[in-house]
Amino acid sequence: MEEIIISTLQRTLVAGTPLLLATTGEIICERSGILNLGVEGVMALGAVTAFIVTMTTGSPWLGVLAALVAGMVISIIHAVASVTLQANQVVSGLALTMLGLGLSGMVGKPYVGKPLTIKMENITIPVLSDIPFIGKAVFSQSPFFFLAIALALGAWFLLERTRLGIQIRSTGENPKATETQGVNVFLIRYLSVIIGGGFSALAGAHLSISYSKSWIEGMTAGRGWIAIALTIFALWNPGRAIWAAFLFGGIFVVQYLMQPLGISPNFLAMLPYIATLLILLLISLKDPRKLNAPAMLSTPYKRGER
């Protein structure tokens, strides 16, 4: 029994890690007023970049770094389109996803099915990992897990407690007034989009060099879209994103736990998507106002207009 609890908890945390990384990135981006539907594509690009660089250099950390850079660079496209050229953010994000999925498929083709022999060692925190039940599951984990938690907490601190955070939030709420305060709205939005893209790529890196240690086309499997839903579910707060992401990680794990009980694997695979809809519905039924997104989300800002 103890074994099952530990392994379930551990797998929940592993499955929730990429969701938390991508959701945190999307929250920062959306708080500045830019909707980025490119998460799925950027995640795929991050996954393939991290995999190739890790395999060729032998260093997982170089892989992580390369994924981060790739994610930030490709996100500039969305920033230029949606911030400078005031393009439709839904369409631009979709284009970014197509491009990311396409590039990852092309670049990664020679690497399909090749196993990664380099291991990224788990980090085990002394003392805490000796706590019965949860200790081993929570405090002996992939570095990505600790990174995800740290970045989410960091993002919360940034958004809620710092001057830059206030500027990002007010850019999403009222860019005109923000600009009057001497803040460069365009710069803030560029930064937010690029940082958000970097986070999505980290989520992809986790998938290919820590979670499954291999690259196959389509391995992101819709996680990017769930991250976008989780952004709403977390009500644009990185602190809430932490438990939201791991709740969804749990739903992924439940799939495998229930399969031996004779429940259709396809029904179980449907669960995360049904859960996403149900949970959004519950939030809305409880208090529709709570769903209030940043006021200027997905509205381009035109300088010098009333």
Partner: protein, 359 residues
Amino acid sequence: MIHITSTDRYRITRWRVVMTNILSLAAGLGVISIIFMIAGVNPLFAISEIFQGSFGSVYGFKETVTKAIPLILIGAGLTLAFRAKFWNIGAEGQLLMGAIFATWTGLTFGDTLPAWGIIPLMFAAGFLGGALWGIIPAILKIKYAINEVISTLMLNYICAHILTMLIVGPWKGGTRFGFPGTDSLPEAAILSVIPGSRIHYVTLILALACAAILTMIIYWTRFGYEARVVGENPEAGKYAGIDFLKTTLILMAISGGLAGMAGVGEVAGIHQYLGYPDSMSSGYGFTAIIVAWLAKLNPLYTVLSGLFFAGILVGGDAIQISLGLPAATVDIVNGTLLIFLIMGDYFLNHKISITFSTR
């Protein structure tokens, strides 16, 4: 110093729209060429292969028309939704739901009804399936303020899994040698094709008719006007007494229904049985988004833009074989062209002037 200023352009001529689109596509092709070059492929050769493969031969052109059928149907429906700023990216699921409904109808009544009875029934069932799958996100958006991008996407995944559950479970046919999939549709439930091609012309005629009818609805009817107001000026719409729920339900029933009819065409015209979701649609629901965008949200123009992107799908298959490129190449082409198309919109709506000064 270089000063770049942009001012809004209020009069946009048709000529300027066409030129902007052509220049955007050309710029997109330029960037795609660079990507091909980095990948070690001669871009001129690859691009000419794409268009040779799709428009350069009789066989290729027939395939292009075949793939244009679902793109025109879905794309035309999407223009209506997008005009109301309802971001329906769930056409993939709506197509599959249409295919599911049509397959059930075909398998159930196909042996008792003649073709002239069963075929219209299947298209009606497919429309209904797609429409039902389309109005769920409409209700969720208007009644519960749930973002339609998320809901339509989740419904894509849900529908794909429902379909798979059906074909590995209760609907699994005995004639598939153990592979998942339904039995073949009865003879009467299969759409006839133009001899020597895969063009199921009934669906093609329906697609062209739908594009024409939707154009009339959008420009000439009160409903078309209301759909636009719902998207552009919700506040004014409320004053004018527009029922948002009703308008959104109708337009999503049409948009989803047309995707459902595309599903009927794929199942009854191409595959003749219901199989895995990936094989039932080659991402038509997503490609149709670009089709609608290139058509500037005018359903009639989706006939042209549908043909163009069908050509890219067919040409993409051709270079996969001849140049050994992965299937994802088409995504790169589509993604890049889409980005350049929306970037081009800026230059359509703005007048850019660059001035040099010494200070």
